[in-house]
Amino acid sequence: MTARTVRRIRVTLPALLVLIALAAGAGTLAVVAVRGQPPATRAQQVQQIAAGLHCPICKDLSVADSPAPLAQQMRQEIAQKLNAGQSASQIRAGFVAAYGDTVLMSPPRHGLAGAAYFLPAIVLIAGLIAAFTLLRRWLRAPGPDQLESDSSPPVSASERRALAKAVARLREEEPG
């Protein structure tokens, strides 16, 4: 194994480990965000659905957090619909049918608002590509020792001749 390969491994390995750690962290966050913890009781189920709905008569409060009578009624409605066997998505769809997408705390996955879901992923991928490209360019760039040996410009034949003449002249002028 050459010295250059060892140096490259020394530089690349920590960078790779950092990338792997970042990817693992992002993956874990994504799984937790998508799946979350399944609610154990009916009250928790109601709370979870209510937390995803805007209180229609409040400003910036979810149905779960609002003390407004209409929000209380919405929570009761959610509980009744769950008891009737409706799924969380069916219940949300019912409120969307009456209020539109604006009743949802998170933007819908379709239309212009859907950009909120794919845009961060695109930005992340672009960032990773940029980081990878920069890292590669940085690794390929010559080191300071290489720079010193390689930085001198090539000497042309005429320059060599002029140099030889100048050396000969100096030797002639040398005393003794």
């Binding site: 229609p56 009624q73 009761q76 409605e77 009456a98 209020y99 539109g100």
Partner: protein, 182 residues
């Protein structure tokens, strides 16, 4: 070499400008809209049916009014803006009650006693029902009171007004529906 570098810089600058333009475009579409005036998704759809108790006794079912234009007004005795539009509602009822038009008040988050005393003092003569559990309000996507829905003779919602109505605009809507039916 220099030309390649300049092209690369131009490409980078172009990409940054494009990304900023997309973000500004997205923000301006959102900021350009008035969040308090949200179009009801119910417009053009069948008015959700309900059967509710009337303040004067008995029950009223919306579907039984099919064939007539129904002006459904959600209100409450504690709501100041509802008092502001009361004259317009009374006027609409008096003008069109013999032309196949029903004005229907739906009392929202109120007590029957307060509602009755308000109805008596404000000279309300059109039918008023109680939505004690707010279930009808939720089905109609109510965001507050007053809110008014105009239902055509086929039972479809054709208009939704957030805030107090004006007698003139409701009359125009009703006249237009009456003309279509003749």
């Amino acid at each position: 070499m220099r030309a390649r570098l300049t092209r690369r810089r131009a490409l980078l600058l172009g990409s940054v400008v494009a990304v900023v333009a997309v973000i500004v475009g997205l923000l301006s579409t959102g900021l350009g809209r008035d969040p308090s005036v949200i179009a009801s998704p119910l417009i053009g759809r069948a008015a959700p049916n309900f059967t509710l108790p009337q303040l004067t006794g008995g029950k009223l079912t919306l579907s039984k009014l099919r064939g007539q234009i129904v002006v459904i007004n959600f209100w409450a005795s504690w709501c100041a803006q509802c008092q502001d539009e009361q004259a317009a509602l009374n006027q609409t009822w008096q003008k069109f009650q013999d032309s196949g038009v029903v004005v229907l008040g739906v009392d929202f988050e109120d007590t029957a006693g307060d509602a009755r005393s308000y109805v008596n003092s404000a000279g309300v003569s059109y039918p008023v029902v109680e939505d004690a559990a707010s279930r009808t309000a939720l089905v109609y996507g109510l965001r507050g009171v007053p809110e008014t829905f105009v239902v055509n003779q086929a039972g479809r919602i054709v208009d939704h007004v957030i805030g107090p109505i004006s007698a003139g605009s409701v009359a125009n809507q009703i006249n237009s529906l009456l003309q279509k039916s003749t």
